[in-house]
């Protein structure tokens, strides 16, 4: 994790988050763990001046929530605890993750993730029990019969049904949903090893393997040993993946029909499958896999990025593309030591795959301009880039001439290509009928809307969707890369390059907001040109010398710029010195990140202040006899005041989560 260098603000933030959610005691212990490093229970007791009993209580909460690593030394059987700030920070994302799960995988998935999230980790059996207790019974009560009445109104529109009425669930169904979540990767089986810090695991493996060399390492053995350690550590880490891999064929790539019916809560055929064994055992411990959740959140952020940059419809298409792609991604920043990932060949998805994920409600026919067909250079639009762009993206110069020589005649002669393209631009195009049948075999997801005769065929929709993808590929931001032509086009995303752009965008937003358009202009010049002398800047930026100077100094004071002095002779007088300005990307990113932590801390502190102001009311609300029925128990004024507080709280937390969006971009994606 890039955040392994913890700053003071980040630590403060983690502590505040824990206090907000789990109370004073755990947060205090977490704070000590952060400030004094790995500690035993006794040490914690001493530092916190708390009784060991209390320390254990606090630790229990932290362990339950995966917030500490613990490691018991096999020799002296002493247990050491260590703060897991990665999990602590992720508390702030809980809401977003639930939201995202709901949107992508439906209500039931959200409920399950919520359950697991609330208790940190949970046995499969207890998830099912808790789920049925919370959501299963009410439905039965309403119906007044323990036996669910099947298919009572699902004939017309299964979707409406699902949203408005509590579907009736059985243990099987919940298990099925859980298995699905594991296959996606949102939930992961928890093994004791995962509660040990990576360093501990590594040193233990190291110790184990060293037994093979009683006389120590010599020469070649050293490298050999090291690679074995790395491999073993990775194997341990991947052990939890076994279950996921087992489930994947059924739940991700297999019987799609079964999945969809489940999601709709439609059990007309009573299929809920006594023929299968339960897919997972009751005793497996599960927890939320934040890495995978981050992938989903990243998709969301990138869609937003496209929405901002290109347009709403294109963003929806991009969303479908990312959903298809993220099936093949388990985390945002792949481990550089892992040999199985080849940075030159990232996973790709085909047009047909993407089309399956495109929601039928997305109107792919909008959102693109309609120039006349002769203004379109098909060759250029359909350009395939097999390799990731190198650095500045000017790598395609070489193949440039060969390409243009083909391109000349295509407007007049090459009718086939033109027709296909034109497909996209004329709404009621008469062609494409043949195509419709060809690709109709491939599409499995029916739109379930029966059109009048003139409706666009699936092929037309897919063609239009491709147009959106091509726009994305053409953009200078490298949203997607058109990497091949199989199955009507293969697409991939070079996340590293894209996210870097996104980071710059966030920085630019901050810079533009703080220093105005001129400030941004100057910084972008520096970014494009590297180090620049004081005197050349005004000409490039078309700005007054004095203004440039003022802006530069202002930005330097704020830490966005650096200046290097290069004396031209030994005297080092200012007049004989070159002042080179430059923009330090890494430093600026770290600083901004830390500032964001700090702003989040202030927001949470502000929340406490607001809480203090309304202390009287809140103390009443906290009483168990009032909780849940505030409106009846509180007097009018008090209730209003309580509402005010809730209002403020949600605004502040909303803003915190917006700040978290920034942190995600700067650090995690």
């Amino acid at each position: 994790m890039a955040s392994s260098t913890q700053t003071k603000n980040a630590a403060e933030l983690c502590v505040l988050l824990i206090r907000e959610l789990y109370g004073q005691l755990p947060s205090r212990i977490f704070e000590i763990l952060l400030s004094s490093g790995r500690s035993t229970v006794q040490q914690l007791g001493r530092i916190s001046s708390t009784s060991l009993r209390n320390v254990r209580h606090g630790l229990a909460v932290l362990v339950q929530q995966n917030l500490v690593y613990h490691y018991t030394d096999s020799e002296n059987s002493r247990t050491i605890y260590e703060a897991n700030h990665y999990y602590a920070y992720n508390i702030v994302r809980n809401g977003k993750i639930l939201d995202c799960t709901h949107r992508n995988y439906g209500e039931a998935a959200k409920r399950i993730v919520h359950l697991v999230m609330a208790s940190g980790h949970m046995r499969v059996g207890s998830i099912v029990d808790a789920y049925l207790k919370n959501h299963g019974k009410p439905a039965n009560n309403v119906n007044g019969s323990p036996e669910p009445t099947n298919g009572h109104e699902s004939g017309d529109d299964p979707f409406e049904d699902a949203a408005e009425e509590e579907p009736q669930v059985s243990g099987h169904q919940v298990l099925d949903d859980i298995a699905h979540l594991i296959a996606i990767g949102i939930l992961e089986p928890l093994s004791p090893k995962m509660l040990q810090s990576p360093e501990d695991i590594k040193s233990e493996v190291d110790k184990d393997l060293m037994k093979a060399y009683p006389s120590g390492l010599r020469g070649k053995q050293k490298g050999e040993h090291e690679s074995r350690v790395v491999n073993t550590v990775r194997e341990i880490r991947n052990r939890s993946q076994h279950l996921k891999m087992q489930l994947e064929p059924t739940y991700l790539y297999g019987s799609g029909a079964k999945r969809r019916k489940l999601a709709n809560g439609d059990r007309t055929h009573g299929f809920s499958a006594a023929n299968d064994d339960d897919p997972i055992e009751d005793t497996i411990l599960l927890r939320v896999n934040y890495e995978k959740c981050l992938v989903e959140l990243r998709n969301q952020r990138l869609c937003q990025f496209v929405d901002d940059n290109i347009g709403y419809t294109t963003a929806r298409v991009y969303g479908a593309m990312l959903t298809a792609l993220s099936k093949k991604l388990s985390c945002c920043q792949p481990d550089p030591t892992d040999d199985s990932i080849d940075p030159m060949n990232p996973p790709t998805v085909t047009t047909i795959e993407i089309f399956e994920y495109l929601k039928p409600s997305v109107d792919v026919f909008g959102g693109i301009g309609k120039p006349s067909a002769d203004q379109i250079n098909v060759t250029s639009a359909e350009k395939v880039e097999r390799n990731p762009p190198s650095g500045d993206g000017d790598g395609d110069e070489a193949g440039y001439d060969a390409q243009t020589s083909i391109e000349e005649p295509d407007n007049d002669d090459d009718d086939d290509v033109d027709m296909e393209m034109a497909n996209g631009y004329h709404l009621n195009g008469t062609h494409g009928g043949d195509d419709g049948e060809v690709s109709g075999q491939n599409g499995t997801k029916d739109t379930k809307v029966s059109f009048a005769d003139k409706g666009p065929t699936k092929a037309e929709r897919m063609q239009r969707m491709r147009q959106h993808l091509l726009i994305l590929a053409e953009s200078g931001i490298h949203f997607v890369r058109h990497s091949g032509t199989r199955d009507q086009g293969e697409w991939t995303v070079d996340f590293e390059i894209l996210i870097r752009q996104l980071r710059f965008l966030e920085l630019d937003t901050i810079i533009e907001d703080t220093f105005g358009r001129e400030g941004l202009r100057l910084i972008k010049i520096l970014r494009a040109k590297g180090k620049i002398d004081d005197k050349t800047l005004p000409t490039m930026a078309l700005m007054q010398k004095g203004d440039v100077h003022m802006k530069m100094v202002e930005m330097e004071l704020a830490g966005f710029l650096d200046v290097q002095e290069v004396p031209r002779d030994n005297n080092r007088v200012a007049a004989r010195t070159l002042f080179l300005w430059f923009f330090d990307e890494h430093r600026t990113l770290t600083r901004t990140l830390d500032n964001t932590y700090k702003a989040m801390v202030r927001h949470l502190q502000r929340l406490e202040v607001e809480g203090q102001k309304k202390k009287n009311i809140l103390s009443i609300v906290e009483r168990t006899d009032v909780q849940g029925m505030e409106q009846e128990k509180l007097s009018g004024d008090a209730y209003n005041e309580y509402q005010q507080f809730l209002d403020i709280q949600s605004r502040l937390l909303g803003q915190v989560s917006k700040l978290d969006d920034l942190v995600s971009v700067l650090r995690d994606y």
Partner: protein, 415 residues
């Protein structure tokens, strides 16, 4: 002998003059080899010594300008009438004038001139300059690169672009309003040609923005609670992935009242190019007299790119320009004197008071931001800082100004 030499000199000078082409004119330089290969030299079988004698003599007459190049000495011709100007000048005057002459369009700073000529006496130096100015041989100007530097240049030529700063300068000052208007005009050209504007009448927008076939209600049932909650509010991080048709963006489109700009499909080969922009500026006659060259327009485009308003797009061999975030721009054209509107992106940090707090760096735990009351010392600080307010002061107004967008945040109930 002298007569013959004079004659030869004339012949040589004329031969060189004939060699000049239109493009480089008098700035073309001749090396020794060039001179020797002139037809006249070959015809007369001139030996090197005679030739050098002639060259020396011509140089003394100021009709040849000796220069050094990487491959050895070269000479440049000086037009007859220019050479005549040296006649009747005193020795010191010649010295000064020749430096100014050689400096060409760049001009030469008075201080440098004095150092180079070695005339140490201030009065004498000034007198010479005065005399030359009186003869209308030289004139002074201020360079834009060093506003305080008085530079001298031959009266017969105009200061070079480098010295005047080109079209962007008026009387030695950067003409910022001119530049800004041009930037906006250029941006408008780019925006217009690189986007597709939906027409304002309801009938035609339909095709562009709403599906001709898909009924709006499809899959309404799938809508999440969040989507319902977000309805009628500001579009936020989540709205985009919701299957929600009633977000303002959509609403605006389906109203058909307001035009919006749409991006062009990939491969669109009609994005405006540098040459076209230059042409359109010239055609529109915005610059009133000053003619903008392609290099000047390129400078404007660069600035627009640095501002993050446009991007370069290569389609085939054609390098065009298009606006970024096209759908966020106001489709109407720029009116001089107005500030073109476009919504700035924002993020969590820029919205929060902390993002603009001048004392954010100094802020520590327990400072006023985290306390209930704002201490008076902080308001004192606020006065010294002018309009920028420390965030602790604006917190209460800030909290109420926050949009009601509320993803569940931290609120997870613990069973």
């Amino acid at each position: 002998m002298d007569d013959k030499k004079e004659e030869l000199k004339e012949l040589l000078y004329q031969a060189c003059e004939e060699k000049l082409d239109d493009e480089t004119a008098y700035s073309r330089s001749f090396s020794q080899d060039d001179l020797q290969s002139l037809s006249i030299c070959r015809e007369l079988k001139m030996d090197l010594k005679t030739l050098m004698g002639l060259v020396q003599s011509l140089t003394n007459d100021r009709r040849f300008i000796p220069l050094q190049s990487a491959s050895g000495p070269v000479w440049r011709l000086r037009p007859e009438e220019e050479a005549n100007k040296y006649r009747g000048l005193e020795k010191d005057q010649v010295l000064v004038y020749s430096w100014i002459d050689n400096a060409g369009g760049e001009g030469i700073w008075q201080q440098t001139l004095r150092n180079k000529t070695g005339i140490t006496q201030d009065q004498q130096f000034k007198n010479i300059l005065k005399q030359l100015e009186a003869k209308r041989l030289i004139t002074s100007f201020m360079s834009v690169q060093n506003a305080s530097h008085k530079c001298w240049i031959k009266a017969s030529i105009k200061p070079s672009i480098k010295a005047t700063g080109g079209p962007w300068y008026a009387d030695g000052d950067l003409d910022e309003s001119f530049i800004n208007i041009l930037l906006n005009v250029v941006f408008d050209f780019i925006k217009d040609q690189g986007s597709y504007s939906t027409r304002s009448s309801g009938g035609t927008t339909r095709g562009a923005s709403t599906s001709p076939v898909l009924p709006k209600k499809v899959l309404k049932g799938k809508e999440s609670e969040v989507a319902i909650a977000a309805r009628g509010k500001k579009r936020d991080a989540d709205a985009i992935t919701n299957d929600d048709e009633s977000t303002p963006l959509k609403a605006r489109r389906s109203n058909g009242q307001q035009r919006i700009l749409l991006p062009m499909p990939a491969g669109y080969s009609n994005y405006i190019t540098l040459a076209e922009i230059t042409e359109r500026i010239a055609a529109a006659n915005i610059t009133r007299g000053t003619k903008l060259k392609e290099s000047d327009v390129k400078q404007l485009l660069d600035v627009l790119m640095y501002d993050g308003r446009i991007e370069e797009i290569k389609v085939g061999r054609r390098v065009g320009y298009r606006a970024v975030r096209i759908s966020k721009h106001d489709p109407s054209n720029f009116v001089p004197g107005s500030v073109p509107s476009y919504d700035l992106p924002s993020n969590g940090l820029t919205e929060a008071p902390c993002g603009r707090c001048p004392v954010f760096e100094l802020c520590e735990e327990g400072d006023p931001c985290g306390r209930a009351a704002v201490s008076t010392s902080m308001s004192g600080l606020h006065n010294t800082l002018g309009s920028k307010q420390p965030s602790c002061i604006v917190w209460s107004t800030y909290v109420s100004s926050l949009s009601m967008f509320t993803p569940p945040g931290l609120q997870i109930s613990i069973p």
